[in-house]
Assembly symmetry: C2
Homo-oligomer: 111 residues x 2
DNA sequence: CATATTAATCGTATATTTGCGATATAAAAT
DNA sequence: ATTTTATATCGCAAATATACGATTAATATG
């Protein structure tokens, strides 16, 4: 690939894409579901219910954390994770807003 | 990567991840915005406003179409695209439902 | 029919993601 | 102090995604 082109899009477009990318793997969707059901989990609990190695789960958790969708705190030898509902709502709201806004003014039939 | 692991997740998890993946690039977000603003567009109109080559835009359109987020019909030598609002609403609804449902029963403080 | 227009596809290079085992780190338990 | 437990990180291999130019295909137009 010659050059990175992502930077040539608006910040908002990049942010939404980043959010979507964090959700763009079934393992991460599954992790979010587990976190939501238990309110908070340590890494090992998630490893137990996913068909992935510990190191792989840890990597997915890191990506979710980097995207701001989950919080993680060290708790003794464990790491405790939970969903960052605030960030989640913000992003979902932004998506709905963007596309609902556009949808309203634009529900005509098309090709 | 040794083996594909995506299949070991539920169909719903895979579907949501697929939807998110379609949105996981700023170019595709931008394309959806252009389509929403114009109701429908031919490929060339999109190429004109994006900082990408025609072949690259065509590829992104193909991905959006495969994900079911846009419709595309051949119109003479052109291809006409528009947003599939129905599919879009379905997916957005599924996301909101999944996470709002979980959120309601689960808004406690966490780590 | 020849040619221009429009878009899809092919081939290729490069970047990123995914996944795992091995190893490192850090706290807790013995 | 050593061992156990829990997690993160490193290094690697394989799969995917991104981007483009060149080519192809299909329809218009002169």
């Amino acid at each position: 690939m010659a050059i990175h082109k992502k930077e040539s899009f608006s910040q908002k477009e990049q942010d939404l894409a980043e959010f979507a990318k964090a959700l763009a793997h079934p393992a991460r969707i599954a992790i979010l579901k587990v976190l939501a059901q238990h309110n908070e989990c340590i890494c090992g609990q998630i490893v137990d219910v996913l068909p992935l190695a510990q190191s792989t789960v840890s990597q997915h958790l890191k990506e979710l954390k980097n995207a701001g969708l989950i919080n993680g705190t060290v708790d003794g030898p464990r790491s405790c994770y939970c969903i960052n509902w605030k960030a989640f709502s913000t992003f979902m709201g932004e998506f709905s807003f963007l596309f609902n806004k556009l949808k309203v003014q634009n529900e005509k039939a098309c090709c």
